[in-house]
Amino acid sequence: MLLNTISNALSTLSEPWWKVFYDFSSLTRGIDEGLRSSMSEFWAVTVEMLIIGVVFLLFYAVIGLFLVIAERKVCAFIQNRLGPNRIGPFGLFQTVADLVKLLFKELIPIKNADSFLFNLAPYIVIIVNFMVLAALPYGKGLHAIDFNIGIFYVIAVSSMSVIGVLLAGWSSNSKYSLIGAMRSGAQIVSYELSIGLAIITVVILAGSMQLSEIVEAQRTGWFIFKGHVPAFIAFVIYVISGTAETNRGPFDMAEAESELTAGYHTEYSGIKFAFFYLAEYINMFIVAAVASTLFLGGWMPFHVGNWESFNRIMDFIPPFFWFFGKTFFVIYLIMLFKWTFPRLRIDQLLTLEWKYLLPINLVNVLVMAFLVLMGWHF
């Protein structure tokens, strides 16, 4: 029945099937109408939610596994190595093999650990990830929920992942974990401010918090070009604090392996460890995806003023690919940081945030508001 609905939806398209890559809204509308015509509204919504849920589960796993192998290949490239190259072509299935191994590994119960919280923590981190993924615009019309406070929702929900980390550290009854969790708490709470202010800078420029509108506003030019210097400063601050937010090097204080062995997930094993590990990569994807949506035009192709033919060639690349191209560019930047810089110390990390990034950010927001007020942006 489901397949029937999809094929009906596809057949109702007036254009060739590959046109769907340029605008998903006709496909999604087709499925929606097909479902509503064959069942009551309640069931139609339920089935739609199920489809979206399954799609995101698959997406989550694929992106997670892909980013792990990408990270290993990037760090191998930086370190004069080959990286994994045994399983599959270019070692592409290495992470699949790793995942299977982690699935079959024993979950080691910890003595005197608060087992309820201990088991709950990885799920909190994962659920937060899913909630954010749902709000991102992946392509034209490819958007699970699009509501008027989209970006606000993303900030609000993503900051909840610190609860998972704190719970993990607290409940494992291990000293290293506790130190890691406390560091992580201080770090995420402080850098949340910078991320928020950097995002507010863009919201002022776009005049909307709805993600689809923010992307639409960049049709005439990406915000990083449109917003003069303040937008660029906001982008730099966003990438720095986004790296800190995901607990990645050089800000990986929470799991500083040379100091705290593995920080807050020292005591986790098997699939629960894999959850934390995957969540770190999905967090990185989210940070990069938000960066590309807010600053680099989301799924908008790259256009240059009135170069008609150039713009038409750019339009030929589907928006879907634009979004992922930009996201992976930002991810590569974040990976480069990790593999070239040594780690900061916890007090230096907080100094950087409270004494440098926050004041710069506050001034930046004012400057941006002034620019928008005077209409000096492009």
Partner: protein
């Protein structure tokens, strides 16, 4: 369990005691540090050693002098060449053998190569302690080339057992001179990468400058030798103070700093690599012809008495003290290992710094745990 309870009682209230080691990524082996914390601040460090104690000094009493050489490799395994040399020099002093120049020059070149590879590994692992994992691969990439040179001549890569009483185990490989020259040329070309990726990095400098400062007085009174001592201005280079082997015929600078902080302990090692290359440059083309060993009696018996030799290993001053009663075995052997002495200062200089600083300070003292325990 009992022990942990005791420690909690010993520690002051509000102090948080964690065990770093025996298995910990940054103790570089089986060193155990019991660290008392107040939040992130280190209040007290109690090193517990002995996890890799093999009783080398006691074992030496029941084996012959040529056999002792093979045990010394296993003390500071990164300065195996210098350890071998120290025992050989002590035994040769006792036997009053005249050592030909060829042997002296080859021993010096080997020691300096050994020093370079040890400092390369220091740099690599120090970068990793600081969280910059790329350093590790860069450092090992270059170290591999020296190990290959060692392997070609001695047959071993780390455990070389190259010097023996009366000379060397084998003559140098015909390729030796060419490969060493190639390496020096290559390494001069890549040493700037070390500075680019770590020494000049803002984060790294912020983390190390002014951290764990060791004053000259403390360095002298704690007996901190090697690059760690010289970073505090303690002119303790045995190669200058009491030149042995061919060190009296080469020109080199003793790397001295006055700041004594973590950054300068690190920098002293980077500079020493440059000095070592200068020493090798002066010697590599002038290896005299001649035999690579002096014919000794089949059984080496030191005349009754006490023999003492100091050498400069990559980590500081190694002293060998042998008491002989005229037999083929020594009566007593004592090694003054630099790492054991350097460990003593750890608590003194890392108090009131943060956990991350403790890792940086311990890393900059460059411990090799088997040398601490012996």
């Amino acid at each position: 369990m009992e022990e942990i309870v005791k420690e909690v009682v010993i520690g002051e209230q509000e102090e948080y005691i964690i065990n770093m080691g025996p298995q910990h990524p940054s103790t570089h082996g089986v060193l155990r540090l019991v660290v008392s914390l107040k939040g992130e601040i280190v209040k007290n460090i109690e090193p517990h050693i002995g996890y890799i104690h093999r009783g080398i000094e006691k074992m030496c009493e029941s084996i012959t002098y040529p056999q002792i050489i093979h045990l010394t490799d296993r003390m500071d395994y990164l300065s195996a060449m210098m350890n071998n040399e120290a025992v050989c020099l002590a035994v040769e002093k006792g036997l009053e053998v005249e050592i030909p120049d060829r042997i002296k020059v080859i021993r010096t070149i080997m020691s300096e190569l050994s020093r370079i590879q040890s400092h390369q590994l220091f740099w690599a692992s120090y970068g990793m302690d600081m969280g910059g994992q790329t350093c590790f691969f860069y450092g090992l990439r270059d170290r591999e080339k020296i190990l290959d040179i060692f392997e070609e001549t001695t047959g071993g890569r780390m455990i070389v057992s190259y010097s023996c009483p009366g000379g060397l185990m084998y003559d140098i490989h015909p390729n030796f001179q060419k490969r060493v020259k190639d390496f020096i040329k290559y390494f001069r070309g890549v040493l700037w990468e070390y500075d680019a990726i770590l020494s000049g990095n803002v984060i790294f400098r912020e983390r190390t400058i002014g951290i764990g400062t060791l004053t000259l007085e403390d360095a002298v009174s704690y007996g901190i030798t090697g690059p760690s001592g010289r970073a505090s201005g303690f002119a303790c280079d045995i190669r200058k103070q009491e030149p042995y082997s061919a060190y009296d015929r080469v020109k080199f600078n003793e790397v001295l700093y006055t700041q004594g902080d973590t950054y300068h302990r690190y920098l002293a090692r980077i500079e020493e690599m440059r000095e070592s290359m200068n020493i090798i440059d002066q010697l590599i083309d002038n290896i005299p012809e001649g035999p690579y060993f002096v014919k000794m009696k089949p059984v080496i018996k030191l005349p009754e008495g006490e023999y003492f030799q100091r050498v400069e290993t990559a980590r500081g001053e190694l002293d060998v003290f042998i008491i002989s009663d005229g037999n083929k075995n020594p009566y007593r052997v004592k090694f003054r290992s630099p790492n054991f002495v350097n460990l003593g200062v750890l608590n003194h200089i890392s108090k009131d710094f943060k956990i991350a600083d403790l890792i940086a300070i311990a890393g900059s003292l460059d411990f090799v745990i088997p040398d601490i325990d012996r």
